[in-house]
Amino acid sequence: MLEKDLVIVGGGPAGMAAAISAYENGVSDILLLERDQYLGGILNQCVHTSFGISYFKEVLTGPEYSGRFINKVKAIDKIEISLKSFAVNLTKDKILTFIKPGLIQKLKAKALIMATGARERTREMLHIPGARPAGIFSAGLAQKLINIEGLLPGKEVVIAGSGDIGLIMARRFVLEGAKVKAVIEIQKQARGLVRNVVQCVEDFEIPFYLQHKISRIYGKNRVERIDVARVDENFQEIAGTKFQLECDTLLISVGLIPENELIEMAQAKMDKKTNTPVSNELNKTSIAGLFVCGNAFRIYDLVDSVTKDSVLAGRQAAEYLIRGSGRTIPAGLK
């Protein structure tokens, strides 16, 4: 069976930072798997600015931020990059199977870093009653449609939830000429960063309803309107507060779930509530040599934090490999 010292699953900011860090700390046989046709992950669709303020002390767009890592990773010949490559199976012995066009490959990794990111919570998890027409998108999918595919999902938009992607998409839709009718948040406070509430919602005078929920969706083929109601402390609808908004699009932005199905498949201990592996130390799992970083480890507000976390994971994997090879760990690991 093919063997690799270190396999990293995910070529977004987390995976790239981990790969570079592992290389800089002495690992020389690294395979980086990315399921998309490009490196960069979700940052590719984040064309807005405000990335890198903490890590680079500069204000960058998403593609600019990821571009710095893409250039660096590509310049290191010890990092083999495999695109369009889907990891489909992982065992507790760190045998990984991935599929790419024309190939299914099984390999044994001495160490693995899972940088698989997160997925968005969906309408199905919210149990919003009513119709199930076209026009309901996760905020991230709407972002991809506009920024990557050049398509406008809708013209009259309501945003359910106030996660950062939802807030950013409120501004994005306005800039695209659509009307954003409301942002509706069931909690007492916004979920996203204050700066996004100010810059993406308040500055554009978009109505922002806290302690409200969408209680029904209408529309036969396409979303036509929704019911909104105020909720009490227990998130129950308060009678007599219901009103309707006409819209053709409903975005769902109610948080992210770390994507750790491969780690679960490998039978590492999981915290079912957070969908993250249980371990005593940062970036580790209950399986020795299986590491996790970035949003798969914990949902971060800023990509800068993802990078720092992933640099640490790369170093931990390097330490693990050096120990395993019987060498002593050199002082001054980066």
Binding site: F86, R123, M125, S138, L141, E149, L152, N221
Partner: protein, 482 residues
């Protein structure tokens, strides 16, 4: 104008079964479907149970057809490469005072020749259905109950019918039926005006589901009404696929078989349906009340069921025309056959309905001559999720696009999506029903754009025309203006 021997209105389970059965004979057949794809009406929300024949009124037509259909479905599924699992069903009682009612159900079913029925006790239930409530006392066990994917069965029937020469016209909503009397020529007793043009046919079979009453009225037969009865269903995470082994039923009520704990052909537990009379034939909305009703009811059967495991929910409408099916040759409109009120157990009964309709056609003058070559088999579509990883290499070697993964949650490749489109998928829902892409835990967040592009390329339509389930449900409004 094209003339046909037979026009079938509606490409649901009944219409598709009739089309496939008739395609054995030397006939020109057209199927007229109002939706963008086959099976998009009543059938797509069917629960997928192949009923054994229990819980039907004694001496009913639907009871008889159900028992026959249970047998026929097995061979059809095999011929058409559709998975059929014999799961068996349990009708459960919690109070021994209900035993007489259970025995009555058993007697009624035996009168319809439902095989292998028996009453099982607490000990049997504990051993064979461990998650069933310990309060369940006894059950009527019907081992011949099964599970099938309702839409994959309809697609398979339609693909096979087309292979055998049937024409299927989608988005061909029937606007009017004109009886040409006296018949101008043999092939033209009826003129059917649709949104896709006018069709002439010698025989018309009305299998129009919820709208069968409207269609029948167009032909001058106005003695029944279809009342929609809504059912809400909830699908649970596949991680819970070992929750139950059998299909679990409570004692049936007058209007429905009750709220059930079953599983889908893909292995997800499914709970529901409710049974509420609806006013609107388009109303597929779900409700908080439905959720509450279903979960309070199924938790009595299986206490371990948890709302937190819901991954999808939907509602369907049963086309109710009274107690029984209406399947009859209309002497007042010679050449017109009604296949109406096909509610539960319609999916099970469909192949038997098809045979019954063939016999009616023959009796009423249609010459049924068998084709020399009838393609009875359909190649089973390849789905990576059904294949062990050890065998996947073989397919990827044969076609590299089996290695081009489109859907991460359900492991669906670009090749499977292309095959689905070749088989008739024209919408994102059609792709989902065939391949499961978008049907997993991320609900299409990852794969939607890729699916749109494949659909757009392979059907040569703009991205802005790609829809969820047909006209009016386009995914995006327009291209961005730079």
């Amino acid at each position: 104008m094209n003339s046909y021997d037979v026009a079938i209105i509606g490409a649901g389970a009944a219409g598709a079964s009739i089309a496939r059965e008739l395609s054995r004979y030397k006939l020109n057949i057209a199927v007229l479907e109002k939706e963008a794809e086959c099976g998009f009406g009543v059938s797509k929300s069917n629960s997928g149970i192949i009923h054994p024949g229990t819980q039907n009124p004694p001496n009913s037509l639907k009871g008889r057809l159900c028992v026959q259909g249970n047998i026929l479905t097995r061979s059809i599924a095999k011929e058409l490469g559709v998975d059929f699992q014999e799961a068996g069903e349990l009708i459960v009682i919690f109070d021994e005072r209900d035993l007489p009612r259970l025995l009555e159900l058993k007697r009624e079913a035996e009168a319809l020749a439902v095989p292998e029925l028996r009453i099982v006790d607490r000990g049997w239930l504990k051993e064979n259905e461990p998650n069933l409530s310990p309060e369940a006392r006894l059950a009527l066990y019907a081992p011949t109950a099964g599970i099938i994917s309702p839409y994959r069965l309809v697609y398979a029937l339609c693909e096979n019918a087309v292979r055998n020469g049937v024409e299927i016209h989608t988005q061909a909503k029937v606007e009017n039926i004109i009886s040409l009397s006296p018949a101008r020529e043999l092939n033209a007793r009826f003129e059917i005006v649709t949104l896709k043009g006018t069709f002439r046919a010698s025989y018309v079979i009305n299998a129009a589901g919820l709208y069968a009453d409207d269609l029948s009225r167009m032909a001058g037969i106005d003695d029944f009404t279809i009342r929609p009865r809504k059912g809400e269903e909830f699908i649970l995470d596949k991680k819970k696929q070992n929750l139950t082994r059998h299909l679990l039923f409570p004692l049936p009520s007058k209007t429905s078989k009750g709220i059930l704990v079953i599983r889908t052909a893909d292995g997800n537990p499914m709970v529901g349906p409710t049974a509420e009379d609806a006013k609107d034939k388009d109303d597929l909305s779900t409700s908080d009340e439905g959720l509450k009703k279903v979960f309070s009811s199924v938790k009595r059967l299986v206490p371990a069921i948890d709302e937190a495991d819901i991954i999808a929910y939907f509602a369907g409408l049963r086309p109710v025309a009274g107690e029984d099916f209406i399947i009859r040759y209309e002497d007042k409109a010679p050449g017109f056959i009604n296949v109406a009120g096909i509610q539960s157990p319609g999916l099970t009964a469909a192949p038997a309905i098809a045979r019954m309709v063939c016999a009616m056609l023959k009796k009423n003058g249609l010459n049924l001559r068998k084709k020399i070559i009838f393609h009875s088999k359909r190649k089973k579509p390849i789905h990576l999720f059904n294949i062990p990883l050890s065998k996947t290499q073989r397919f990827i070697r044969k076609d590299a696009s089996f290695g081009d993964i489109v859907c991460r949650c359900e492991l669906v490749s670009a090749r499977e999506v292309s095959d689905a489109i070749a088989g008739g998928a024209r919408t994102l829902d059609g792709i989902k029903f065939r391949t499961r892409a978008q049907g997993g835990r991320c609900h299409g967040t990852f794969c939607t754009t890729r699916l749109m592009k494949i659909l757009s390329q392979e059907t040569n339509t703009p991205l802005t025309a790609v829809s969820k389930r047909g006209l009016g449900s386009e995914i995006v409004k327009e291209e961005r203006t730079p």
